[in-house]
């Protein structure tokens, strides 16, 4: 899997930040900027707020729609993916379980729609879907939801792997002991392959692949969009710490947005050793493709960090 990631020429640019920092607009701009330079771009909105529809001034859906040259946009419907997942579980359970009447699983699964952890998993499933299907693109730009959910998304592979390793070890121990019992009782060594272990390994591979992708600074860039005010700066510091804790700091690319005052000084300890690109405020509202192109025409040079 790791070699496949190394060979995959596609790039994944995440845009995250506090609500209101302008990340959706910046991601839309980034899409147009890169498309103008010959990249085939898919702009995927993982934000339930779906600002892209507002920015491009047209409705979007799960099926990518062409917006300009080489730009396609899609909005992920979280509820759809949650439903899909829960239904597939329901389906598997119905097929696998023999003792149906004992347990009305359907009832349970309805409640789980809003269970903690389901949202970010739905996002992961959506992400993987598009990653698999959209092979003919050069860059996938991901407009992330507000910080909290975005961090959960980024953390999920690591967290899952921790649990999976633990569970896998426990399962292996159980199997080792079972093998001894089997051998003594029946003289044979082999047991039937343990499906649970198989599933655990499969899940492990799934998350491992994601983790490797996220941690690869060539393939992945996490753009942290922030504003020139105290709150935004403080929050960015925290996000930075958070990303460092999950080994994603090498993929971090901070972007200072709406920096109208050129002399605004960033505290040097915030992003040591980096030059932080600044984007200035636009004179007019950035709604619609032509407005976006207009801004790029004026200020496009500031977005060279994307190349």
């Amino acid at each position: 899997m790791c070699s496949e990631i190394a060979e995959d020429p596609r790039r994944f640019f995440f845009f995250m930040g506090k609500g209101g920092t302008g990340k959706s607009t910046v991601s839309a701009l980034a899409a147009c900027f890169l498309a103008a330079r010959g990249r085939r771009v898919l702009l995927l909105s993982l934000d339930p707020a779906h600002n892209q529809a507002d920015i491009f001034d047209r409705p979007f859906s799960g099926r990518p729609q062409t917006v300009g040259e080489r730009v396609r946009v899609a909005e992920v419907d979280q509820r759809h993916w949650i439903n899909r997942f829960l239904h597939s579980v329901q389906d598997h359970v119905r097929r696998a379980y023999t003792y149906q009447s004992a347990f009305n699983l359907d009832h349970w699964l309805d409640v789980l729609h809003d269970s903690p952890g389901i949202e970010e998993y739905a996002m992961i499933l959506a992400f993987q879907h598009y990653r698999q299907v959209e092979q003919d693109i050069d860059v996938m730009i991901l407009d992330m939801p507000p910080t909290g959910l975005a961090m959960k998304f980024l953390r999920l592979p690591r967290l899952s792997l921790r649990w999976l390793t633990h569970l896998e070890n426990l399962r292996q121990e159980i199997l080792r002991k079972k093998e001894i019992v089997h051998r003594i009782r029946f003289g044979r060594r082999e047991l039937e392959t343990d499906r649970i272990l198989g599933r655990l390994k499969q899940q492990g591979a799934f998350y491992d692949d994601l983790k490797t992708l996220f941690e690869n600074p060539v393939a992945t860039r996490i753009h942290l969009v922030f504003n020139p005010d105290q709150l935004s700066i403080r929050e960015s510091g925290r996000i930075c710490e958070g990303l460092k804790a999950i080994a994603l700091d090498r993929c971090l690319h901070p972007v200072l947005n709406m920096a109208s005052r050129e002399e605004f000084r960033l505290p040097p300890e915030l992003f040591p050793g980096r030059s932080v690109p600044r984007l200035s405020l636009s004179d007019c509202p950035l709604i619609g493709l032509s407005a976006l192109h207009g801004y790029l025409g004026e200020q496009g040079g500031r977005m060279d960090f994307l190349l």
């Binding site: 001894i180 051998r183 003594i184 060594r189």
Partner: protein, 580 residues
């Protein structure tokens, strides 16, 4: 000759009881039926619930319930004469003990193989689970203390047994390695291990190890500490490393020892003038508690033992293929153990008459040989004297068919010590879990660590052992406590069986209610007497433990009576899944 006569009479008696009373209980009272559903088939999963041949279940069940209990108890109790002990062992097992084991097995079988504490909370009420918890905790504490002392006492009296018993450890570990890591076949290799162990017996007999008195602590005290340290390490190792292989070796030892005893009685009857030299009845020997009620507390495992219900409802009930098989396993198993106790009585009361030479070089035979051990409760070495009466008596009988006396002594000493050793190891292990459960739920997180919990278990046992003197005499004061706890549990289980039969509308409940009442009365009586005695001696630790058992016993009675009268008054039987 009369010893042989008694033995044969007893065997015939057991067979008759099995065929008559046992079958009667099975078919008329419990209504066992061949075509009834059993959990082994209903819940068959190839792991726990597996229909098994009754002989195999029997072998497993019997080797699980037999241990040092049926040996030490009677060895002490013959102080009241051989007749009461024999009658209690014989009649008690037929009418109470075997019925208890049998009933416990059946009820478990008819409740999807659930364990006894689970179905007790169903038939009485859920609070009784705590009773089980506390009883087991106390019992384990007392067992660990006593059995450590038992082994220590054997080491002190029979230095020849020291080497073989310790060598059993590497032999067991080698066996464990062979079976679990290398896939060796269990039966042949365990037989090899036993053979090797008997070779070490021969070596041990010629290389006795004597523990000197260290810093004022008698040999038994030092040995006890060493043994409890061993228990600490043995119980934290995986079961397959030491404990399980020791179990195999012990099962074989048990069968061999029983065989040797029976053979010994036979041959000695014809070639010597072995006779019962113990008094027939001796209701109040010097310094001893009185026969009523203590006889019934002292002999637990040979007549009726509450702990057997745990084994009955453990694996045995999940493997019965046909309801009628439970007679063979439950009823038959207990009778077989009872026959072991009977052999012990013969050895201590008749075998000993063949005489022996004391450490001082004095030759004793006949009655004086017996009296040297039983003239008073704490004669000579307390518990040690009683055990040695068995060891010597058995060795004497074995000598009659040509086994050298010294070797026979070591074989028997090692036999008792090995079983005590495995019990010590297991009890410490289980106690660790109990303490973990108890203390972590009270908030002491450190008890999650297995070493902490094990250390506390061992330390508590050591405290109890040394509080009573860490000697044979001390162990003797603890034994009735052990018996009392065991019998409280037995009373509880008999009550459950009674309620079960009552709820089914069978008049047979009387047959289990009488034994239940009997056990309750005897246990209470003994506990009250003990409490008085401990208060006079000023032994606080024993007072607390004894007091706790008294409270539990009262609790059992109250709960049982409440439920009994509720059932008589027409409260419906427990709901849901009563199979039958």
């Amino acid at each position: 000759m009369d010893a042989l006569f008694i033995m044969l009479l007893a065997f015939v008696g057991y067979l008759l009881a099995y065929r008559l009373y046992g079958r009667y209980l099975g078919s008329k009272i419990f209504q066992l039926a061949t075509d009834a559903k059993v959990p082994a088939r209903e819940l068959q999963d190839g792991v726990d619930f597996v229909p098994t041949k009754k002989e195999v279940i029997f072998g497993h069940h019997f080797t699980s319930i037999a241990g040092t209990g049926p040996i030490v108890g009677p060895a002490i109790a013959v102080i009241w004469g051989w007749v009461p002990a024999l009658l209690w062992v014989f009649l008690g097992s037929i009418v109470m003990g075997a019925v208890h084991d049998f009933g416990a097995l059946i009820i478990s079988m008819r409740n999807q193989g659930k364990s006894v504490s689970e179905y007790t909370s169903k038939y009485i009420n859920p609070r009784t689970r705590f009773i089980f918890f506390i009883i087991v905790f106390l019992e384990l504490l007392i067992i660990t203390a006593i059995f450590g002392l038992v082994i220590a006492v054997i080491f002190a009296m029979y230095p020849g047994s020291v080497l073989p018993v310790w060598l059993e450890i590497p032999i067991a570990m080698a066996l464990g390695y062979a079976v679990y890591k290398r896939g060796a076949s269990v039966l042949p290799w365990s037989i090899v291990a036993v053979a090797v162990m008997y070779l070490t017996v021969w070596w041990g007999a010629s290389a006795p190890i004597v523990m000197p008195e260290i810093a004022g602590m008698p040999a038994t005290g030092t040995w006890t500490l060493i043994l409890l340290t061993y228990a600490f390490f043995a119980s934290v190792l995986p079961v397959t490393t030491l404990l399980q292989p020791r179990d195999f070796i012990n099962s074989h030892q048990l069968l061999i020892a029983m065989g040797l005893l029976v053979l010994g009685v036979f041959v000695a009857a014809f070639t010597t003038d072995m006779a019962f030299v113990a008094p027939a009845v001796q209701a109040s020997p010097e310094a001893a508690p009185s026969m009523w009620p203590f006889l019934f507390i002292t002999i637990a495992c040979g007549a009726i033992s509450g702990f057997h219900s745990l084994v009955s409802s453990g694996t045995s009930s999940k493997q019965i293929a046909n309801e009628k098989d439970s007679l063979f396993v439950g009823y038959g198993g207990m009778l077989t153990e009872s026959s072991l106790s009977m052999l012990v009585i013969i050895a201590t009361c008749a075998g000993i008459s063949l005489g022996y030479t004391t450490k001082a070089g004095v030759s004793l035979a006949g009655v004086s040989a017996w009296s040297a051990h039983y003239s008073s409760w704490t004669a000579a070495a307390g518990l040690g004297s009683k055990i040695s009466a068995f060891v010597v008596g058995a060795a004497n009988m074995m000598e009659s068919f040509g086994m050298p006396h010294a070797i026979a002594i070591v074989i028997m000493g090692v036999f008792v010590a090995s079983f005590a050793g495995t019990t010590l190891d297991t009890a410490t292990r289980v106690q660790r879990y109990v303490l973990s459960e108890l203390f972590t739920s009270l908030g002491f997180e450190s008890f999650r660590n297995k070493y902490v919990a094990t250390f506390v278990a061992v330390a508590a046992a050591a405290a109890l052992a040394f509080a009573t003197g860490a000697s044979g005499k001390g162990a003797l004061t603890l034994w009735p406590l052990f018996g009392a706890v065991n019998q409280v549990l037995a009373a509880l289980v008999l009550t459950v069986i009674t309620l079960y039969l009552l709820q089914r509308g069978s008049w047979g409940w009387i047959l289990t209610a009488i034994p239940a009442c009997f056990m309750v009365v005897m246990t209470f009586w003994a506990l009250v007497i003990n409490q008085g005695m401990y208060m006079k001696q000023g032994n606080v630790l024993l007072q607390i433990i004894n007091g706790l058992v008294l409270v539990i016993a009262a609790w059992v009675v109250v709960e049982g009576l409440l439920r009994f009268f509720a059932t008589l008054g027409g409260t419906p039987a427990p709901a849901v899944d009563t199979a039958r």
